[in-house]
Symmetry: C2
Amino acid sequence: MKIIDGTIASPKGFYADGVHCGLKKKKKDIGWIYSEKKAQAAAVYTTNQVKGAPLLVTKEALGVAHQLQAVLVNSAVANTCTGETGIEDAYQMQRLAADKLGLENHQVAVASTGVIGKHLPMEKVTMGIEALSMKSGNAQNFHEAILTTDLVTKEICLSAMIGGKKVTMSGVAKGSGMIHPNMATMLSFITTDANIPYQLLEKLLKKKVDETFNQITVDGDTSTNDMVVVLANGCAENKEIVEDTPEYETFSQMLRMVTEDLAKKIARDGEGATKLIEVSVNHAATESDAKKIAKKIVGSSLVKSAMFGEDPNWGRIICAIGYSEGTFDPSLLDIFIGTQQVLQDGLPCDFHQTNMQKILAQDTVSIQVDLKVGTSQGVAWGCDLTYKYVEINACYHT
Amino acid sequence: MKIIDGTIASPKGFYADGVHCGLKKKKKDIGWIYSEKKAQAAAVYTTNQVKGAPLLVTKEALGVAHQLQAVLVNSAVANTCTGETGIEDAYQMQRLAADKLGLENHQVAVASTGVIGKHLPMEKVTMGIEALSMKSGNAQNFHEAILTTDLVTKEICLSAMIGGKKVTMSGVAKGSGMIHPNMATMLSFITTDANIPYQLLEKLLKKKVDETFNQITVDGDTSTNDMVVVLANGCAENKEIVEDTPEYETFSQMLRMVTEDLAKKIARDGEGATKLIEVSVNHAATESDAKKIAKKIVGSSLVKSAMFGEDPNWGRIICAIGYSEGTFDPSLLDIFIGTQQVLQDGLPCDFHQTNMQKILAQDTVSIQVDLKVGTSQGVAWGCDLTYKYVEINACYHT
């Protein structure tokens, strides 16, 4: 398995494009991914009880045959809290894309990210769809078209041999605050030319999203429009992947690598962030405990502020563990920041100040917690809390 | 029932004092409350699984006879994550105070707030206790001695007639961040000369703390040292209060007013805060739902940032409701900011921009949510998220 240069359109049979249609002032704001063959598809959605209209339409589409051939995405307007008109608009987006691509409506997923409570200007969207190219587009433009306040595009491309065939998998994501100022959302789209049935795709996607995307936090706010969609069109012509085989294992590792990489890129590009924080919890009673504790630590405003201030404030880490509701024994706790141990068996230990300062000055800081109560582990990712975060979120006006 | 000028020593038979013993550079850092008669007592403690040593000692003391005659409190050092030595130090504090006041050890509660992982300098503490006055102290000094990064002292004093006798109740609190940079904690102490058995005191305290102190959030971090203690010494000589009588009702209202007032003062004095945010949720399916939803809204970093920026960003409010896990129907939601309605039946409505700006510029902003699914209600209090919060928590160094 190796990382290669590529775009969301690198797997065989996929195409993508993005254009500016006027939802944003200047930047690209609408794009699509198209597969020349029907693709097995799976998706996971936000757990927020308020769901954007596109999620309802996409969920319905996937329910028909678990197959997709296109995903149409706009940024700047989330199409959430928009009532019946919003639902109609989402269907209209789907219909327009399907017509232009010669597909059934249910073969097109739609996704939106942006301001809540604003209707989509459908004239602009219609013009945007007209301007999108089916096969001669520029896939990098798609990566840009889905962004809101993100500072960089986020993508990864992998290849590996599966059943003697070269399989490629690409992923792209956006998400800066988990929600930005009314700019909802983390979105991610994954394409692969692997031949794999939707049932396995669905099962693996749920697991990987749980281990990666669901373990990042920028500000603790879960958006109304989060969505991850994976399409597998089989163009690599490998023999259909079967569960619990080496081929399945390779595919599973690829999906994990793609989702983890994108999740970390989202955390690093969190609103106002200056560094990525990675928290590992080891020897927990259960995996659920380990993930929960890791996420509480990385989500603590106090830990996040301390990391911004480059302060090895383990008291805040132990405090977050304490209110995590996970199982642990305070007198067994070991905590490391980078290579430096700060707590042993629940008591502070001396560390090398200069080395610690070097560790905290880096753009990735790792925190490792050893609970010593079991055999499970979990990881979570986040970013520091900075003046810039407050500025972005206070100075934005609706 | 009326609010009167007073201190924690205003109820009959109570005395208090505070001095500087060297835990802080200059400010007062140790103090006590003393009752000349045995007082019925009750306490609630942090839910954090990591608990400071003083909590263990106080819990044990209260378990003996549910009576206290003194509470000894220091600031600057939390005596948490300090192992066996920490427990010994807490017992030593208790013993020293008991000896000086001529009490049994178990009649003295101890509380600490400050840096985690640091041992109490017991020589200084000993000198502090020696310097404290039993009956001729200055109670206002106690209010100051328990502070960490608080900008103001927080107190309230009430009087009411109960069973033909004038009963006084006072409360004092500290707490700036729910945890400050390793400065743990919300602490509150309530004194009253009412005659009431500890069982009722305990029951009422739990309920009121749940409705008030547990409904405030500054940064979502629950400290290791939180503690609320109430002492009722009976010096008002009212007939012992019995459940479900008018006297019980009056006492209950007094306790509610004291805890709500202190809770709001803590929220308003939250680290870096410029305003108090009060969120009411009405017509919820259950009280638990209403409280949960209110707290999620007031705890959202995005809502908090918006309030700092004086932006009526209802999208963030609806989003927080969505991930609260409370029962609601998005299409029924009404939301008001101050007197201005921003959402009706789940859809945005026009509001008066100038009036809205006036509302958001005030130092208290109320947000009201009507779920229209039931008959229960709940309130939560918090503060805005500001540059100053980040500064306080990033620039502090351990």
